[in-house]
């Protein structure tokens, strides 16, 4: 199965990025063969709409499941509509996450686990008088 794992780095030893939409990178891995590639998340620095754009990126990679820490409502809606399974609460390294997944230790979620903009820190659109 083709998995997408939000990652702070570019290989299987990298630590999971707890944010989906604003993750630094994604590791795309075939859990059967172990073959993987990494993709930079160009949406990570978007002023707004990082979640939907990141979800589109992942969908275009043809993945069937996403493993991450937390996911917001907009990204969740897109991945859900595309029939992609979402596993949250994942931490540690990418390799550990893949092992947990293969061991059937992860539970798919049916709802977003973070508020909109939760991963954007003190970004330009947060708070009063934001972008328009």
């Amino acid at each position: 199965m083709k998995l997408c794992i939000s990652s702070t780095g570019q290989n299987l030893a990298a630590v999971i990025d707890p944010r989906f939409g604003r993750a630094t990178n994604y590791i795309i891995i075939d859990s059967d063969t172990g073959a993987f590639e990494w993709a930079e998340n160009f949406a990570a620095t978007a002023g707004g709409g990082a979640g939907t754009k990141a979800a589109q990126l992942v969908i275009n990679k043809g993945v069937q499941a996403v493993l991450t820490g937390n996911i917001g409502p907009n990204a969740f809606a897109v991945l859900n509509a595309a029939g992609i399974k979402i596993y949250t609460g994942v931490s540690g390294t990418v390799q550990q996450a893949v092992d947990l997944f293969k061991g059937g230790k992860l539970q798919a979620v049916g709802a977003p686990t973070a508020e909109a903009h939760a991963g954007s820190g003190s970004g330009s659109c947060s708070g009063k008088g934001g972008c328009a």
């Binding site: 939907t52 595309a82 328009a132």
Partner: protein, 278 residues
């Protein structure tokens, strides 16, 4: 003549100044442009007689016509559209209503439908025409409401705009077609820092402006030194006094608490009229 009362830093006394100026002059129209949390009505106590919904246009996709080409999603700068095969997901809260997707769609599958984001309220505060914009809770965009307010301004009057704080889009929208801008600040390092940002903004917009120091007596004299060095007119100083704060907490303007300031506000309007661009 349109006078915008702005600040940079929040909580320096924009509404205090705007309301007192309005109470001191004749022939005023008042518009509260701080649509995220309008509060001038607490002091002006208007009777609202008209409520006009404010909408923006968001896309609606005709799935029978959509080919799934994805041009709309590629164009959208706010990522409000996602294309899955021939299915298009629309995220209306992220849409800024630019209409670009409607234009670029080769199949003409997109029409626009209105989405309400807030309200424009009109009424009278005594014999003073009053308006305020109210942005719905959770909505990210204040500017469409302020743009609507602008359409109802009566240039034959002295229009007083109570601006939002900061220097972001809603503030620009409030300041940009004004004839004069009053920047209210407090004599503290925070007040000075944000005043400098506000000064950069009004200079960019080429709106004549001057500064009012509120809570004069606290902090230091760095704001005055800055104004002097930059050649910025210091229009007025409002003293730091407990009775002003007490009156404020009861919804009473400073010209009621300190009637002697009324003449200062009248003089202020004369100064502004001479310096404004219209």
């Amino acid at each position: 003549m349109i006078i915008a009362v702005a600040s940079g830093k929040g909580g320096t006394g924009k509404t205090t100044v705007a309301v007192s100026l309005a109470f001191s002059l004749d022939g005023v129209q008042f518009a509260d442009c701080d649509v995220e949390e309008p509060n001038a009505a607490i002091f002006l106590r208007p009777t609202i007689v008209e409520k006009i919904p404010v909408t923006i246009s968001v896309p609606e996709i005709d799935e029978k016509k959509c080919s799934g080409c994805g041009k709309c999603a590629d164009l959208c700068a706010y990522n409000a559209l996602v294309v899955l095969g021939t299915r298009v997901l629309v995220f209306p809260h992220m849409c800024h209503g630019c209409g670009g997707c409607t234009i670029i769609c080769p199949e003409r599958a997109i029409t626009e439908k209105p989405r309400e984001i807030g309200m424009l309220e009109k009424g009278m505060a005594g014999d003073m025409p009053f308006m305020q914009g109210i942005l719905n809770v959770g909505e990210p965009m204040a500017t469409p409401i302020i743009k609507q307010l602008r359409k109802h301004l009566d240039r034959s009057k002295i229009v007083i705009l109570d601006s939002p704080p900061g220097t972001s889009c809603p503030v620009i929208e409030t300041m940009r077609e004004s004839d004069f801008c009053i920047l209210v600040t407090e004599p503290t390092p925070f007040g000075l820092h944000d005043l400098q940002l506000a000064v950069e903004t009004v200079r960019e917009l080429q709106v004549p402006f001057g500064v009012i120091i509120n809570c004069a007596g606290i902090g230091d004299d760095a704001v005055e030194t800055y104004c002097h060095e930059e050649g910025i007119p210091l229009l007025m100083k409002i003293p730091w006094e407990r009775r002003i704060a007490e009156g404020y907490s009861r919804g009473e303007p400073i010209v009621s608490i300190m009637p002697e300031l009324k003449q200062a506000f009248i003089n202020l309007s004369t100064t502004i009229a001479a310096a404004s661009r219209n």
